[in-house]
Every structure is written in structure tokens, then in C-alpha cells.
């Protein structure tokens, strides 16, 4: 089966700084992959590059999504092809309410009962008339991100630190939402995938990840079972990454 996502020798810079240094990565349809790594290693840069944010300038290499070379595609074109992203810290957009955003995203005209059920499940009924992320707590931001993605229904979702700013109680809810988003709560619809950045690994208690990687100094290292990688990080930190590079 062809890869859902593949990058070939991806070199990326932000301003004068080289943030990715020849990343080769691939993942199959239906997989959940996890990225670990210290701060500033390039995890978020990798995700933002995949999504096409212009600040992340591709100097060399290619990105293929569902067999299409999307390296030169605009952000919204990638989104329309089936890529979605949940930001760690989404911007505040005063004046554009969460309700309005849902209406705009819901281009397929999903039935309103289904949308209402999702809003209720993520406990966001009281936030619909507020500006996007305006005064939202960390957990509310995450839930709002996941709600928007559940309506957008991307084939591959990029999730940047789903646990950050979320209290223990709400992590389960976020985990459930991720599973619903990629269809892991159903027998059918197993072609959707996710790429998740995690610092703490808490999310692995709720999401059944297939593969893990360590991102270190702008490259991918140590592919393996995500739980094994996490326990290795917990024991030795990231020092060993520098050694085995």
C-alpha cells in the first residue's frame, strides 16, 4: 500500500535558522505516529512545514500526501486535500466566533444534530458565541481545535502537544476526541491517520500509537515502538540521541 505521507530529504529554514536538515519520513494510511524530542528540536517546524505555513521555507526536498507532490501547495489547498492541524497555541481571532467558524468549515453541510452532538461531547456549548480562542483556557483551546477538526474531517491530522495546558481530567476527553477524529472508535473508516507531537507521553494512555520517532536537531532519529521510546527518554533523557546520531 502506498504511503499516506512521505517526505524526501526535507531541508527547511525559518529566517536564518536551519530547522529541518534532510528529513526522510513516511507513514501508512490509518497509522498513528508520534514525535518526541526536546524543545527546539524541530517537531513543530516539521508539522508547520507539512501544513505549508510560508514562514517555514522549504529549501530542498519534497512532500507527498496521498501520492500528490504538495511541496508547492498553499495551506488551504493542503487542507482541502485532507490535511488538518491542531495547534498547540492557536491565535485569538476576536470577531470570528467559534459558531461562525464551524459554519464555515462545515462545507459538506453535515447534519446539525451531528454537529450539536460534537459540541456537546466536547463541552463547548458555552463558547460558541465567543471569538475564537478569546480568553479560552488551555483545555478549551484544545477542545475547540479538535471540534473544528471533527467537522473538517481531515484524512491526516497533525496534532501539536495535545496535553499541554490540559488538566488530567480533560486529557481523557482529548484522547477520546482524537480517536473519534481518526475513526479509531469505529470498525470502518480505518484509513485516517494522525501525527502527534507529545512531550509527556500522557496521551499514549488514551491513543493507540503505531510508531514513534525522536526529533533531534532538525532530523528524525530512533524509529520504534512509541512506548519503548518514551520509557527510554524517561530513563535517559535525550542525551543518548546526541551520542547515537
Amino acid at each position: 500500500m502506498e504511503d499516506m505521507l512521505r517526505t524526501e530529504d526535507l531541508w527547511v529554514s525559518v529566517g536564518d535558522r536551519q530547522v529541518l536538515k534532510g528529513v526522510n519520513f513516511s507513514m501508512k494510511y490509518g497509522e498513528i505516529n508520534v514525535l518526541f524530542g526536546p524543545n527546539g528540536a524541530g517537531k513543530t517546524s516539521f508539522m508547520m512545514t507539512l501544513m505549508g505555513f510560508p514562514r517555514y521555507r522549504v529549501e530542498q526536498g519534497k512532500i507527498f500526501f496521498k501520492g500528490i507532490d504538495i511541496t508547492a501547495h498553499d495551506i488551504y489547498e493542503r487542507a482541502r486535500l485532507g490535511l488538518g492541524v491542531s495547534f498547540q497555541r492557536p491565535p485569538t481571532v476576536r470577531g470570528v466566533t467559534l459558531k461562525k467558524m464551524i459554519e464555515i468549515i462545515n462545507t459538506n453541510g453535515a447534519d446539525s444534530a451531528g454537529v450539536d452532538a460534537k459540541i456537546e461531547k466536547l463541552n463547548l456549548g458555552g463558547h460558541l458565541e465567543r471569538g475564537l480562542n478569546d480568553g479560552f483556557s488551555g483545555g478549551e483551546m484544545k477542545r475547540s481545535e479538535l471540534l473544528q477538526l471533527m467537522i473538517q474531517r481531515p484524512d491526516l491530522v497533525l496534532i501539536d502537544e495535545p496535553e499541554s495546558g490540559v488538566d488530567i481530567e480533560n486529557i481523557a476527553l482529548v484522547g477520546e476526541a482524537i480517536n473519534a477524529l481518526i475513526g479509531k472508535d469505529k470498525v470502518k473508516d480505518q484509513k485516517r491517520g494522525a501525527l502527534i507531537i507529545t512531550h509527556t507521553g500522557y496521551i499514549l494512555d488514551f491513543v493507540n500509537a503505531d510508531k514513534g520517532y525522536i526529533v533531534f536537531d532538525g532530523n528524525l532519529l530512533c524509529r520504534g515502538n512509541p512506548r519503548d521510546i518514551l520509557s527510554e527518554i524517561k530513563k535517559h533523557g535525550y542525551r543518548r540521541c546526541a551520542e547515537c546520531r
Binding site: D74, I75, Y76, V93, G95, K100, T107, Q148
Partner: protein, 416 residues
């Protein structure tokens, strides 16, 4: 009984002295250019208007079928051509032209040219010396008509000086909504609109006043507005300007005289072409426990120049709270915005006045965020700009919303 002639003469004499008095703000205009006077007859129904006039009136918020309206007032150039009161609201309010009211009620002397001095500047003087109608709306004590009164002040010919004097009296415990549109039926008309507006909100009364201005490239506008609010009274003003104008200068004032009175100004301005726009709002908090809020959203496109002023003046011995929020977005390298907030406290030890003012571009981060949900760049800019301008004004027809979107589409590309 009519207002005393002696009083009217006093006003005239006062105005005469200010015939050439320059206004504090805005370019000085030569009023002698605008001498055209056109007399028009009454019409039976709004539907009988010409297509051109009807279209202009609709675009300024007029409902031609008079659905969901408690009454209507239409003035074209210097003549009142239509006034009506929905039968269901007879006994709740009255609508007529201001000269008719001056003829009918001598007590208007207490209100006519009492909030605004006739000698404030050459524009008030011109309106006092050559008044060409304007509306008088009075809602009787404790009456709350369900639907708004609609008014339209339209200029159809060239070189007209439309000098209207509008008066609204909301009596004790009464509530009123007014939608008023000021507009032109010819997009190349050259002329001037001078609008004196003296509004009085009595004890416990509430006035929600929405004004839509649709002018054009060669037209000058000099409104002069003051609202006096008594105790427990509320005044809400919504102002929308989305069309080009040669120049407009206005600085409406809400004077909160009574205790617990409140005022709110919402202002939405979209500067187009080479419009010169100098608009503001001033709230004087004189009563105790008074509240004020002034929100302005301005976008300057093309070569427009916008002055966005806001004054909060505390003059109470008790507590008062007021906030000014004045934000602008520049869409063009040739456009200018000046945001000028001013706070003043005259010995009001307990007053709390605050402001936030900003001018900035549309945030790239916000646009890209929306794009990541599959929205094109153009649509993302449009959604953010509409959101920026959206002040949730009730009874504003959908076409206005559509109109905003169309202007944004046409001008927002320059913003990125």
C-alpha cells in the same frame, strides 16, 4: 400653540453672528456653492417612488413595505415627501417634520436649539437660518413600540444644501428604536448635508438609534448631534459608513445628566477612495453611577484619511465608569488613520475611565490559521475583516452585511 416668534428670532440672531465661524475640526467649506432649492410634493406610498430613489433608500436601511416598522419618514432634498405612523402604534408615538412640531407645540422651546448652540459653527448657523425640515419623533411616556421608526434623508439633486433639524423625545419610561439612513440617489451628486440632531431621553427611557450613511465622492456632510440622557435613561448609537464621501466631520455627544444614565456608541467606518472622514463620540458623565462605552472599528482603504476620535469626560461627584475601544486596520499604503482617544476627569475622584486604541494590519497568523481549515486566503481575510466590523447591530438588513462583504472583497487584497 406654536413656539414663540421671539424665541425663534433669538436663535436666528445668534446664528447670524456665526455665519462664517469655522468648525473646530474638518476642512472648511464654502457653503455659498450650494444654493439649489427644489420643492417636491407628497407621495401616497413608498412604493410609488422612482426605482433610483427606492434603491438608494433601501440601501440605507429603509423597508419599502414598512414591514416591522412602527412608522416612516422620508425627506428628499428640502421637502418631506412621506410620513406615516403604523396604525397599531397610534397613541404610542408621533412623527412629523420639525417645522410642523414647532408650529404645534410651544413647549418645544425647551428642546429646540437647547442641546446644541446655534452659533457653534457655520454649519449649525446655516441649519438655524435656513432649516429645511428634518424629523420630529416623540414616544409618549411608558410606551414601547415593538418595531423601529425608519427615516430616510435623501438628496436627489446637485448643489443642494440639505439642512435638517431632527428631534427625538423619549418620554419617561418609554423606549424607541430608530433606523435612519442618509443617502444620495445620484452617485455623482455634489452637495452638502447638514444634520442637527437634538435627542432627549427622559427618566428611565431608552433610545436605540441606528444611522447608515451612504454618500458619494463629491458630497460633504456635517452632522451635529447631542443627546441628553436623564436618570436611569439609556442611549445606544450605531453608526455605519461604508461608502465614499468627499468629507464628513461629526463629533456626537451623549450628555449623561441623570444618575445611572448610560450611553454606548458603536461606530463602523470603511474609508474608500479619497474620503476625508473625521468622526468621533463624546460621553459626558455628569450623573452619579453613570456608564459609557464607545467602540469604533475603522478600515482605511485606497487614499482615505480617517480621524477616529473618542472623548470620555467625567464630571460627577459620584462613581462613573466608561471605556473607549478604538481600533483601525489600514488596507493601503496611501491611506491614513489617526486614532485619538482622550480621557478627562473634572475632579471626579471616583471615576474610572479607560481606553484602548490600536492601528495594525490584519494578522497574518490569523489568516493562516483560517486557511489551515481549508479557507482560501481571500475568504479568510474577508471573514476576519467582517468579524472586525461586526458589532451585531439589530434590524440591519442582510444586504448591509452583504455590502460589507463585497467591499471587503474588492479592497482587502491590498491588505496582505
Amino acid at each position: 400653540m406654536p413656539v414663540r416668534n421671539a424665541y425663534l428670532s433669538e436663535i436666528q440672531a445668534l446664528a447670524e453672528k456665526a455665519r462664517d465661524k469655522r468648525a473646530l475640526y474638518g476642512p472648511d467649506l464654502d457653503l455659498s456653492r450650494y444654493t439649489q432649492h427644489i420643492k417636491r410634493g407628497k407621495i401616497e406610498s413608498l412604493e410609488s417612488l422612482s426605482h433610483q430613489v427606492k434603491e438608494a433608500a433601501i440601501l440605507s436601511g429603509m423597508n419599502m413595505q414598512e414591514e416591522n416598522r412602527s412608522g416612516s419618514f422620508l425627506q428628499i432634498d428640502q421637502s418631506v415627501v412621506y410620513e406615516s405612523l403604523n396604525k397599531a402604534y397610534e397613541g404610542q408615538l408621533e412623527i412629523m417634520s420639525t417645522p410642523a412640531a414647532l408650529d404645534k407645540y410651544d413647549w418645544i422651546e425647551e428642546y429646540y436649539w437647547k442641546a446644541i448652540p446655534a452659533d457653534q459653527d457655520k454649519y449649525t448657523a446655516q441649519a438655524a437660518l435656513n432649516m429645511t425640515h428634518g424629523y420630529f419623533i416623540r414616544v409618549f411616556a411608558h410606551q414601547k413600540p415593538q418595531y423601529p421608526v425608519q427615516s430616510c434623508l435623501l438628496v436627489a439633486e446637485n448643489y443642494v444644501s440639505q439642512n435638517v433639524h431632527n428631534m427625538i423625545i423619549v418620554e419617561e419610561g418609554a423606549e424607541l428604536q430608530v433606523i435612519t439612513g442618509c443617502t444620495l440617489s445620484k452617485s455623482d451628486a455634489e452637495g452638502i448635508h447638514l444634520g442637527i440632531s437634538e435627542f432627549y431621553v427622559k427618566k428611565g427611557g431608552k433610545l436605540m438609534f441606528t444611522m447608515i450613511h451612504n454618500w458619494a465622492d463629491n458630497f460633504h456632510v456635517r452632522p451635529r448631534t447631542k443627546v441628553v440622557v436623564e436618570e436611569d435613561g439609556t442611549f445606544i448609537s450605531n453608526y455605519v459608513l461604508l461608502k465614499p464621501v468627499k468629507s464628513i466631520q461629526a463629533f456626537p455627544v451623549a450628555h449623561l445628566k441623570g444618575d445611572r444614565a448610560s450611553a454606548k456608541f458603536n461606530t463602523v467606518v470603511y474609508g474608500l477612495k479619497d474620503s476625508y472622514i473625521d468622526l468621533g463620540s463624546r460621553i459626558i458623565l455628569e450623573g452619579e453611577d453613570t456608564r459609557g462605552e464607545s467602540i469604533a472599528r475603522t478600515i482605511a482603504a485606497d487614499e482615505s484619511v480617517i480621524y477616529s476620535r473618542g472623548d470620555l469626560i467625567a464630571a460627577t461627584r459620584g462613581y462613573c465608569l466608561a471605556h473607549l475601544d478604538c481600533r483601525g486596520i489600514l488596507f493601503s499604503e496611501k491611506a491614513k488613520i489617526f486614532a485619538i482617544p482622550e480621557l478627562a476627569s473634572h475632579g471626579s475622584l471616583k471615576s474610572e475611565l479607560s481606553h484602548e486604541a490600536s492601528i495594525g494590519p490584519i494578522s497574518e497568523e490569523q489568516v493562516e490559521y483560517l486557511m489551515s481549515r481549508g479557507i482560501s486566503q481571500e475568504d479568510a481575510v474577508s471573514v476576519i475583516t467582517s468579524g472586525f466590523l461586526n458589532l451585531d447591530i439589530p434590524y440591519i438588513p442582510e444586504f448591509l452585511d452583504k455590502n460589507i462583504k463585497e467591499i471587503i472583497k474588492a479592497t482587502a487584497k491590498e491588505a496582505l
